[in-house]
């Protein structure tokens, strides 16, 4: 048994060397985001009444579905508000980090043939998996401690050392659990893409279970790890049990990963390949065929996820309606503006879901660079295919996919809301509020084209930008980001089309900007070297 782990240290060195930048960037951004948000909350200097208003808004079922159970109004401190707004999404971000890191530590290195070299050395069969697991564990421990310490030092009203450390531990243990899940899935799927899509799908599933459970039936939430995360009641009751449960399950999952790892061949999964076609179909040979064939898996997966989320939030709208009519206190507080609460929620929801719509479209374009690095494009550009053509095919697929996903997302939201609510929401308003985000999504696509075309070394910047857009959408208003900062986000210019009449000018400007960016990308792409790794 001990021999199976021989060489774990060597494998750790190899992994750290390869991925240290990635890991440090993640760690710094996650800790930095929590600390910066906490500092910004402190700077808000809200009056007690304002805080009470926010507490009341958080009680509404739509918000509960999005962010988890609300804190009791009578104990709503600044720290409680912080946890309410930040905990779940930060934990999800930590889960995304864990999923991406673990999949690149395990299946990705195996798929690329790097593991083969390591395994040819006098190194045990478990060494690589053990090294990867140890490194993410280390990263998560650092994440817990650094987040806890930075919150402890900031010490918002309602934060003490115990609760700050609990907050850090919750984020990290949730992330770690999804890291463990990814380690299991990377034994099952043969490709990195399969592993990450599978892990994200499970995460979405748990998120939706928790949403529904938190609004309708608490028992359901206990079947989701994200349900435990938000039930620690950090900064109020401070339960540590959820952390222990999350860590325990993660440990079990890691054991399962090792068990399955033991019984399989290098590069194989537990699910294996079938024989394929002898000849290419005419679909594959059509101009769009190859790109669609290569991208359909991730487009379908992301599209379905986004649409499902929209549908479940649509379903919650009816609870929101009931809540608003019943709670006269809230009505009184909001000055009878229940309508406004609904429209604010819809606009926030669409902004968030629009970021999700943009992600698969951006990935379609980033794949062009990945294909270049892997040397697939040598096969293409040594034939009668121009670079502009290849880039424009990808742009077209990304553009069409984002339009289609966004449309379906809006329709599924409206459809479920419509079928459950007594006073249905307006179809035309809902659709225009959703589609108003399209030009901003196109800007993200254009920006990606620019980076892939003219600055291939900097393509990771598009993720940083999307992260910024998301932060601005989610917190920009609440934390009163300065105007000039917000104006860097394409989404900031999207007109509020649900509560207001749609103004066309910003949409036209965004569309023009998207075309310009893509055009510049094309110019750059035609001028530069095509270089595999």
């Amino acid at each position: 048994m001990k021999r199976s782990f021989k060489g774990t240290k060597l494998a750790m060195t190899v992994l750290v060397r390869q991925h240290r930048v990635q890991a440090v960037v993640w760690l710094v951004s996650l800790v930095g985001a929590s600390a910066a948000a906490a500092a910004a909350f402190e700077g808000l200097s809200q009056t007690g009444i304002e805080l009470l208003g926010i507490a009341a808004v958080m009680q509404n079922p739509a918000m509960v579905a999005m962010l988890g159970p609300a804190y009791p109004v009578e104990r709503y401190t600044l720290a409680a508000q912080f946890a309410n707004e930040m905990l779940l999404f930060t934990a999800i971000a930590a889960a995304v980090m864990n999923i991406l890191l673990v999949s690149s530590f395990t299946r990705h290195d195996e798929e690329e043939g790097r593991l083969e070299l390591i395994r040819s050395l006098p190194v045990g069969r478990f060494a690589y998996l053990a090294a990867g697991s140890l490194i993410v564990t280390l990263i998560d421990v650092l994440l817990a401690v650094m987040t806890g310490l930075s919150l402890g030092f900031l010490g918002l009203d309602g934060m003490d050392w115990n609760s700050s450390l609990l907050y850090g531990a919750l984020i990290a243990s949730t992330g770690w659990l999804f890291g463990a899940l990814t380690a299991v899935l990377s034994q099952i799927f043969e490709t990195t893409r399969g592993v990450t899509i599978g892990s994200f799908a499970v995460m979405l599933f748990f998120y939706l279970i928790r949403s529904i459970g938190d609004v309708l039936n608490e028992t359901l939430s206990y079947f989701s790890p994200l349900g435990w995360t938000v039930r620690a009641n950090v900064f109020d009751q401070n339960h540590w049990q959820p952390v222990f449960i999350l860590v325990g399950i993660a440990l079990l999952l890691f054991c399962l990963a090792f068990f399955w790892n033991r019984n399989r061949d290098l590069c194989a999964g537990l699910l294996s390949d079938r024989k394929g076609k002898r000849q290419a179909s005419s679909f594959l040979l059509s101009p769009l065929g190859l790109t669609l064939r290569l991208e359909k898996g991730s487009l379908l997966a992301w599209g379905t996820g986004t649409i499902l989320m929209a549908a479940s939030f649509g379903a919650v709208m009816n609870e929101l309606e009931t809540y608003l009519t019943e709670t006269t206190f809230i009505q009184a507080f909001l000055g009878g503006e229940g309508e406004q609460m609904t429209s604010q929620f819809i606009e926030l929801l669409f902004a968030i879901l629009s970021v999700f719509t943009a992600v698969p479209a951006v990935m379609v374009l980033l794949k062009l660079k990945k294909e270049e690095k892997r040397g697939y494009l040598d096969n293409v550009y040594s034939r009668t295919v121009s670079r502009s053509r290849q880039l424009s095919i990808r742009l077209f697929v990304a553009w069409m996919a984002s339009n289609l996903i966004q449309l379906l997302m809006v329709l599924s939201y409206w459809g479920t809301a419509q079928s459950l609510m007594e006073q249905p929401i307006s179809f035309s308003k809902t659709v225009s509020a959703g589609l108003a985000y399209l030009p901003a999504i196109w800007v993200l696509i254009g920006l990606t084209a620019l980076l892939v075309g003219a600055m291939p070394k900097g393509t990771v910047l598009v993720w940083a930008y999307i992260g910024f857009v998301f932060a601005d959408v989610y917190l920009g208003e609440l934390l009163k980001f300065p105007e000039w900062v917000r104006s860097f986000s394409a989404f900031y210019f999207v007109p509020a089309a649900y509560s207001d009449t749609l103004s066309w000018l910003p949409l036209i400007v965004l569309t023009v900007a998207a075309f310009l960016l893509a055009g510049l990308g094309d110019v750059g792409y035609r001028k530069r070297d095509i270089l595999p790794d």
Binding site: E190, T191, D273, K275, G276, K277, R278, Q279, A280, L284, L285, L290, R293, L294, R374, G375, Y376, D378, N379, V380, Y381, S382, R383, T384, V385, S386, K527, R528, D529, I530, L531, P532
Partner: protein, 300 residues
Amino acid sequence: MSVIKVQQVTKMFGDFKALDDISLSVEAGEIFGFIGPNGAGKSTTIRTMLGLLKPTFGQIQLFEKDAWKDAVTIHQRLAYVPGDVNLWPNLTGGETIDLLLSMQDIKPSAKKEALIKRFDLDPTKKARSYSKGNRQKVALIAAFASDADLFILDEPTAGLDPLMERVFQEILLELKKEGKTILLSSHLLAEVEKVCDRVAIIRQGKIIEKGSLEEMRHLTRMKLIVETREPLTDLPEWEGVHDSKRSENTWTFYLDAIHLDTVMRKLSSRGILKLESTPPSLEDLFLRHYDPVQASDEEV
């Protein structure tokens, strides 16, 4: 007509000069060998010819068109096989071949089926599960099934077994008979010797030798073993003689081919008892050029 014309091309990667003022031309209908040690710049030259890289200085013309600007037009008449074939992992070999051909607007033909048989490839497997040699076969079939006039092959046989290598060489000679032009970069000297008409040697980004194989042989040294009646005390000083070693009356030495005539006259005047010679091989020549120590001796 020169099918490929490389004129004073330099390629920089940042500060690193990968190609240093390279010139060469490949004529229509010939098989041109391109050889040199690892990292010499063969693949870089070829990728520049394909318009994948932009020359920092200089010009490359294929079919009298600019390799960078007119890449797409040129590629209608060209087929390329890289040494390290990377394929979309989730397409089968058969699908990949059809796809690559369609990128040159070629419909799958009987020629393709014949080549699949000849190379003994199972086209129903996913590229992910192919061995290196089988991935290579996919690229070779896609290239040979096209109607190209120019074939650019960058170490195309690196993963093939000897049987398949023979099939490959046969096909090259068939293509030559049809009047096609071939640029073959290779480390297999026997292969180059068998099929190529002319070769160029590149080292550290510079072309250090080019010409027909016959011309090259003149530049080579042969190994001689002689025994003479009269002692040959001054042999090491003779022009063209290298690395001479003596045991009693027998000398072993290397001789530049161009000095063969004068040295033979001198030897016979001393009364030859025994004479053995090993003919010059390309390998000797290449080893001399590849090895930085020996090669720098040469330049002094």
